[in-house]
Symmetry: C2
């Protein structure tokens, strides 16, 4: 059955016949117990509803499927909740998953460090936990944000607000840092009151977007730290009857699949989400395969600034 060893063809045929007759199926659980691996990995992300993570997940899945020995994925949404993340970590470790792809919500550094030190196969994706030594698959959030804000400056905007998703993720911090750097290089003073914070769901983003539009005088432009922020802000802008970019310019992180289907067309930093999933999955498989524990490596994938009409 396992295609292996020195089995006489006759015997093999007899076995196969018996299998067919009884429609026997080998028990994957017993198999896992004996071989001490399950052929299942975990993916803990914040929100599968976010197109970024949808693409990311598909990249993971497609890679895993192309393997000689297919792996399955248990998908877990944390909704940026460290508590929930911990629950899932426990659950998944109980299930004896072979590896984990994680977009850390922040916190849980203790468990994660312990896992890493134990050599448990793990890859961070989209974000990292600086204190935890694990392979990372990211983009250069700092440079990309700087590029985007520089573009806004070049368009003539000087009062550039920031709609910030308050995740406990280093990626967001990097994006804010890039924003500040771009302002600095342009000689534009940083103003704290041009930063509006928001929880990372769509409705909160809308509420915060409204708050941002209450700033007087109205900023010339807004940099949104991720796609949900952009979405919420655009809704607020439309509700107010404002026009983009005439009244206020908008640009943000994450591109939209429907960017060419609806108006206005958003200027954005496109992340290679699918590829990030692929790379993370490949890296994880390598780690699962080999017993040698190597130094954690960080992979930065390229982003792309797509200039469209909302940046003015």
């Amino acid at each position: 059955m396992n295609e292996s060893r020195f089995v006489a063809p006759v015997t093999k045929a007899r076995v196969l016949a018996a299998i067919a007759e009884l429609d026997y199926r080998r028990d994957g659980i017993a198999r896992s117990l004996r071989r001490s691996r399950t052929g299942t990995i975990g993916a803990i992300i914040s929100d599968i509803t976010n197109p970024f993570f949808g693409d990311l997940f598909k990249g993971i899945e497609d890679t895993l499927q192309s393997l000689p020995e297919t792996l399955n994925v248990i998908l877990c949404n944390t909704e940026e909740d460290a508590e929930k993340e911990r629950l899932y970590l426990d659950l998944l470790m109980d299930k004896r998953i072979d590896g984990l792809i994680l977009a850390p919500a922040g916190g849980n550094a203790d468990v994660l460090t312990a896992l890493a030190n134990r050599g448990f196969p793990m890859v961070f994706v989209d974000r990292a936990l600086p204190s935890v030594p694990v392979d990372e698959v990211l983009v250069d959030n700092f440079a990309a944000s700087e590029e985007l804000v520089r573009h806004l400056v070049k368009q003539g905007h000087r009062r550039i607000a920031l709609l910030r998703a308050t995740l406990h993720a280093d990626s967001i911090e990097q994006r804010v840092a890039g924003y500040r750097r771009a302002l600095e290089q342009a000689g534009i003073p940083f103003k704290r009151d041009l930063i509006v914070d928001s929880a990372s769901d769509l409705n909160s983003a809308h509420v915060s977007g409204c708050r941002l539009l209450d700033i007087a005088p109205l900023p010339n432009a807004v940099f949104c730290t991720n796609n949900f922020m952009t979405l919420g802000l655009m809704r607020a802008i439309h509700n107010r009857g404002l026009d983009t970019p005439a009244d206020i310019a908008v640009a943000g992180f994450d591109d939209f699949p429907w960017a060419d289907s609806f108006r206005p067309r958003i200027t954005a930093i496109a992340q290679p989400a699918y590829e990030m999933g692929q790379v993370a999955a490949r890296r994880l498989c390598e780690k699962i395969g080999s017993a040698v524990r190597s130094e954690p490596v960080r992979t930065l994938l390229p982003t792309q600034l797509i200039v469209r009409e909302t940046s003015g």
Copy 2:
């Protein structure tokens, strides 16, 4: 440890102490082997990138999480490929999942019927396989489509085209049937050349959308059988420099989370995707819990026609 039976408090304390000291973790695999259930279910859908399935999945997950004994989900995308679906079915059954939520791609009626007859816990969601007796969680695709097309007729449109996703899903058939019925009732003759078929991904939808716009004379309105169709068509419309609804009206199945953030605002049938996930998960849990095999029931959840500006 299992919170059970008549264990002396002292003994329990000693056990807990030992657990803490050795940081013992019970092996979920051995546990599954012995108890012959895994605490994991499968979800086979067509495409997690589709916001509909994203919401659906979250409904499943949230429900499963609220259970006394949390269940995990292995997520599988078939991309409407029956072959892939079969592969996943095999894999999941090998993994001895406790139950399955399935948006059938069409085909595989043999395996699925066998599973159903064996009493394996299973729920169809979004679509059904008429020949396979399994619980179903759906919407009334026929009635909803009829309502939508009737609305288009009431807006004065008579040449109403159809952009059809060619999945092998009864849901799409129902939507087409609803379209025909609405035309019929309005005394509008059905014209085969107003129907354009498309594979169910975004790019194909765009190509097919362009083909639809080549129809001369241009139809007054288009009914899109799902969200990707609408997206593709809108892209085609914008590329041609046409205006909606001035040049051509558009309405379709599935609402968009960004409907209020971008223009034009699409008239659409909103499906309760999250609730469908909840109901399916609850139903599945009942089936997993009880050994009695009952007649399959079909649950229809209500849709909502949201009239916005693209229907003219």
